[in-house]
Each structure stands twice: as C-alpha cells, then as structure tokens.
C-alpha cells in the first residue's frame, strides 16, 4: 500500500471534518434568535456579562466570514467552546465521555460481525435448511425491533426475573478502589447487556449478508477444486470461501459505523452508560449547544476514522487492490 494513497485519504478525511465544523457554525447561525443566547443555552439564564463574553470570544459583532474563520481557528486549536451548564470546556467534557462510547461501539461491532458471520456461514451450508430459515426470520425481526425497546425489555428481564447482569451504568460504586483487574471484570460485566442490545440489529444484518455472499462464492470453480482435492468441509468454508465472501461484509461494516453510533446514543440513554450519547441527550434537554456541537463533531470524527480504517483494511484483505492509488 503506497504512502501517497494513505496521505490522500487522510487529507480527504480532514476536509470532511472541516465541512462538519462549517455545518456546526451554520446550524448555530440558522437557529432562530440571537446566536449568543443560543450558545449560552436558553435554559441557562445567561447574564448580560456572559453574553458579552460570548460575543467577544466568537467575534459575533464581526462580519460573518470573520466569525467563521474565528470558529474554525478555535476548533483547530482544540477549543470547542464552553459548556455553560457544566462550567467546563466542551473538549474536557467529551474527553471524559468518549472512552466509554468507543468501548461500547467497538465491542458491539466485533460481537455483531463475528456472531453474524458465524450464523451466516452455518446457514449457507444448507441454503434451504432450518438454519437458513432462522437467519432470514431473525434478520427481518432484528430490523424491525426498535433498539431502545430491546434494551428496556432486557432490563425488565435481567432486573427482576434473572438478575445476573447489572442493568445500569458502567461501574459498581463499591468497586471504585478495587485493583485494576477487578475493575476490568466489573466493566465487562456491565457491558454485556448494552453491547448485546446494540449488536442484535447488526448481527442479523451481517448474518443475512454473509449467507448471501457465501452462497455466491460456494458456487465458484475453485471451491469445487478445493472439495475435489479432498479438503475438509471446515477448511473449504472458513479457509477458502469465507476469505472471499468477507469483502462485502467489510464494506458494509464500514458503512454501518455511523448507524452504530446513532444506535449507541439510544442504548447509552437506556442503560445510563456514561458516554457521549448520554451527554448529547442531557445537553439537548438543557439546550447546551456548545456541548451538542462538540458531540456532533467528535461523533463524525469517529465515523471518518472508521471509514479510513475500513478503506485501508479493504486493501489489505484484497490483494487485487494493493498498489493502486
């Protein structure tokens, strides 16, 4: 893989992020009312001094293009403004919350891809078998269930009927001072339900997709060759077929990342997971716009990074694409 290709992709990602910043700026300007009041938060009851301070900081008395330049400059230096609710810089608030969100999203993504592909491969072995029917039905149901409702149903189940998983938060208060390995297990224990809830929708989609993709590959000549030379069924399925069937799955996994973050927003709210989604929800209720815009910026940045990684791993997985720019 050539370095110039990577550089080009990174530059493109940065341009996309610049566009997000411009969009944030436009959204604040387009909102009805005085932008200074909007930034201060309508529920905050901002004093005239605070408004004056905001006008000064964002240059709201200057021409609009100057304002945009100031805003971009602020973001570029890591200054995303100040949350007047928390009385803290937005960047600091988000840096506390971004970890739990990344953890939740990545674990859910891995869980859904691995389980989904596994189910899909099993189903593809017998296109008209029970497993295939199960995958189809499961995929249709998974698509139709609202993710926040799945979470609530799981909470009802695991809080009253089968209390084996915690249904709220990320850590137990009583284990705050425990050694690191106890805390890790505690977080993993808290992660089970939120991650599973988030994974269920996508799991069904990956199962359906990998089944279709495997069926297409299993019909090709080299699979017949592999079978003819006496390779075991497992080798044929997982070694020969899956490597080629994996490409469309990888593409979809990259495209799904944005949806996964949207889903995480709802799941975090349901399970009180202390991530960015929970922060966004709280901030929206308080009309804390600097924080909301900061979350939008960072969530988009996560999607840009995920797309970049997908693109690069696609090239690693498909030798035919290597060397092309």
């Amino acid at each position: 893989m050539s370095n110039s290709y990577i550089l080009k992709r990174v530059a493109y990602g940065l341009i996309l992020m610049l566009c997000v910043v411009v969009l944030n700026f436009l959204l604040i300007r387009l909102a009805p009312g005085d932008p200074a009041v909007v930034i201060a938060g309508e529920m905050g009851g901002a004093t005239e001094e605070m408004l004056e301070q905001i006008r000064e900081e964002y240059g709201l008395n200057k021409p609009i293009l100057t304002q945009l330049a100031i805003y971009i400059g602020n973001v570029a230096t890591g200054d995303l403004g100040e949350s007047f609710f928390f009385n803290k810089p937005v960047a600091e608030l988000i840096s506390q919350r971004i970890g739990p969100t990344i953890l939740l999203v990545i674990v859910a993504q891995i869980l859904s891809i691995f389980l989904g592909v596994f189910l899909g491969v099993l189903a593809a072995r017998k296109p008209n078998g029970v497993m295939s029917a199960f995958v189809s039905v499961f995929a249709t149901i998974g698509y139709a269930v609202p993710v926040f409702w799945t979470g609530i149903m799981l909470i009802i189940l695991f809080a009253s009927v089968l209390p084996i998983f915690p249904v709220e938060g990320m850590q137990s208060v009583r284990l705050r001072d425990a050694p690191w390995y106890v805390q890790t297990i505690d977080v993993a224990h808290h992660l089970v339900l939120p991650a599973f809830t988030l994974a269920v929708i996508y799991l069904a989609q990956y199962a359906r997709l990998s089944r279709a993709s495997m069926l297409e590959v299993l019909g090709s000549d080299y699979i017949r060759t592999a079978r003819a030379k006496g390779a075991s069924e497992r080798t044929v399925l997982f070694h020969h077929a899956l490597r080629n069937a994996a490409l469309p799955i990888l593409t979809v996994a990259g495209l799904q990342f944005g949806n996964l973050i949207s889903g995480a927003l709802l799941v975090e709210t349901v399970f009180n997971w202390p991530g960015m989604g929970r922060l966004a929800f709280d901030s929206i209720l308080r009309r804390d716009y600097p924080t909301i815009m900061g979350v939008l910026f960072f969530a988009s940045a996560m999607v840009v990074v995920a797309n970049l990684l997908t693109d690069l791993s696609y090239r690693l997985a498909d030798p035919r694409l290597r060397g092309r720019t």
């Binding site: 997000v20 698509y143 139709a144 609530i152 944005g258 709802l266 989604g277 979350v295 988009s300």
Partner: protein, 315 residues
C-alpha cells in the same frame, strides 16, 4: 413457476391446415406473454408470496385501527382516568391497563399510531425525493456534477443520522413537520447512491439512445425514460425507508424530542421508562405496536423484492 397453458378450445380450429394452427397457437402464446406488463407480472408474483400477503394484511389492519380506532374507542390519551398502573386484561373499561399517571393505554395505543405512521410516510417520501433527485442528476450528468453531488452525499453519510436529526429538531423546535423534515434530511444518502447506480447502468442502454435520436431532451430522458425503468429497486428501497423512518420517529419521541402535545408510541415508551420495574405493560404494548408496523412493512418490502427479481428467489 408454472403458468396455466393457453386453452386449446379458444384457438380457432382449422384441422385441415396444421401449419396454420401451429402458427396460431404460437401467436397466441406470444400474445399471452406480451400482454403481461412487468408490473402485472410482479403483482402476480407478489400475490403468491404468503409472508408478503400477511405483511400487507397486518399493515392494513394497523392503518385501519389508527385511522378509525379512535372513533369507536373514544377518550383522550392524555386524560387521567383511573388509578396508576392498573394491570392489563383486568378492568374491562381499560383493556390494556393504565400508565404511571393513570392514563388509558388502549387510547394511547390507538391514537399514538397516527403521528408515527404519518411522520414515517412523510419522512420516507422526502427521503425518496431528495435521494432520487441527487442520484439521478449525479448518475445522468456524470463529470463534475457527479463529483460534487457524491462528495455532498459522503459528507451526509459521515454525520451520525440520529444525532444530526436530534440537533435539527432541537434547533427548530419539535413539531411533526420538523421531525419529518429532519428525518428526510439525514437519511437520503443511501437512496441517492442506489439511484445513481441504476441511472449509470440504464443510461447506456439502447432505448435511451433511441429516445435521444428522436429528439428527447435531457429532462425527458431522465424522468420519462430512465426513471420508470429504475423504479423496481427504488420501490423496494422506499418500503424499507418507511420502516427506518418509523423507527427514527419512535427513537426521537422516545428521547422526548417529539411533539409533546401529540401522543405517539415512542413518547409512551419514553414517558414510562422510569417505571419499568414497577409495571412492564406501559412500555411493552407500544413497543410491540412499533415492531409489528415495521415488521409488516419489511415483509412487504421483501415480497416486492422477490416479485421484481424472480431470479433472486433461489437464494
């Protein structure tokens, strides 16, 4: 698939000349298949698809209940009419019980479907309008137009849809119209990509060249020649878009970003979520309602997909 053979009785009988009879039968056979338009053929396939028919019946029932249910089962869903948390299937006057404030859940369920379905349909329509326009222009003109529109599409795909919709709804005060617009604005990119792919494929076909040869302009070729031929996959995608839009509306109302003065299924779940450990029913019934609505829509979508692509049925 088996097709009923043309009945020989109806063919003109000319036993003296067998070649004529054979030509006749062949002509009739050809006529039979020429007479069937693609839409009619798709309908014939759809009619035989049992899950799709079940989905259609289910959706019609849900639409009927939300349109006419409140005429028979009257009562304001916001009124406090009974003790809080009455269990379902106990009190005949309140068949589904009451919520944490003592509001009738049956009334909420019947009147809450209307906004959800209306917003879902309006948002899906907007998604299709934006997506098809962007995709069609992009695929048809190519070059810098394609480049520009596809960059815009990619930009919108980078923004997490629900978060962006939340921001839009909060900035412009929540109402059914703002919500529908917000959902439409965030969810068109996939439709645009699909339309573009179809236009790229179809614009190279001979009948498009033929249309140009007889003097059809760009607009006519795009909307009257290419678009009708690109419709089958777009109709399927529109069905799925309705399902996604309904889930979106439910998610926003659940978060409390819906119109607070309009009862909706998502709002019912959101309002009752703090009390789920005291009473399971106020959140369970609206959730089931959302599920069955989206499920029926997706059964119809799958059925349409099979009907338009008979070849895919073997998979």
């Amino acid at each position: 698939m088996s097709t009923p053979k043309p009945t020989p009785q109806k063919a003109p009988q000319m036993p003296a000349d067998t070649t004529d009879a054979a030509t006749d039968a062949a002509a009739q056979f050809v006529a039979r298949y020429q007479a069937e338009s693609p839409a009619r053929e798709a309908w014939r396939m759809f009619r035989r698809n049992i899950p799709a028919l079940v989905g259609t019946a289910m959706l019609l029932l849900i639409i009927g209940l939300t349109l006419y249910g409140t005429l028979i089962y009257t009562g304001d869903p916001f009124d406090i009419v009974w003790a809080p948390h009455e269990a379902p299937f106990v009190e005949p006057d309140f068949p589904l019980g009451t919520d944490y404030l003592g509001r009738d859940l049956m009334a909420g369920l019947l009147s809450g479907g209307g906004p959800t379905l209306a917003v879902g349909a309006a948002a899906a329509a907007l998604t299709m309008i934006i997506g098809i326009s962007m995709g069609a222009l992009s695929g048809f003109y190519g070059g810098w137009v394609d480049n520009l529109l596809m960059r815009i599409t990619e930009f919108f795909q980078v923004l997490p849809a629900l978060l962006f919709a939340m921001v839009l709804v909060t900035l412009f005060s929540p109402s059914l119209i703002t919500i529908a617009i917000a959902i439409g604005v965030v969810s068109w990119p996939q439709t645009a990509r699909l339309t573009r792919a179809e236009f790229l494929k179809i614009k190279e076909l001979e009948y498009v060249t033929a249309a140009r040869a007889i003097g059809a302009g760009n607009g006519r070729i795009m909307w009257r020649v290419i678009l009708p031929n690109a419709l089958p996959p777009l109709i399927v995608s529109a069905t799925l878009t309705i399902g996604v839009a309904i889930l979106f509306e439910a998610g926003l109302s659940f978060l409390g970003l819906g119109d607070p003065n309009v009862m909706s299924w998502g709002l019912m779940i959101g309002a009752n979520r703090d009390y789920i450990l005291d009473a399971w029913w106020p959140v369970t019934f609206p959730g089931l309602a959302i599920f069955f609505t989206v499920f029926s829509v997706s059964l119809i979508g799958d059925g349409l997909n099979d009907a338009f692509n008979p070849k895919l049925r073997e998979r």
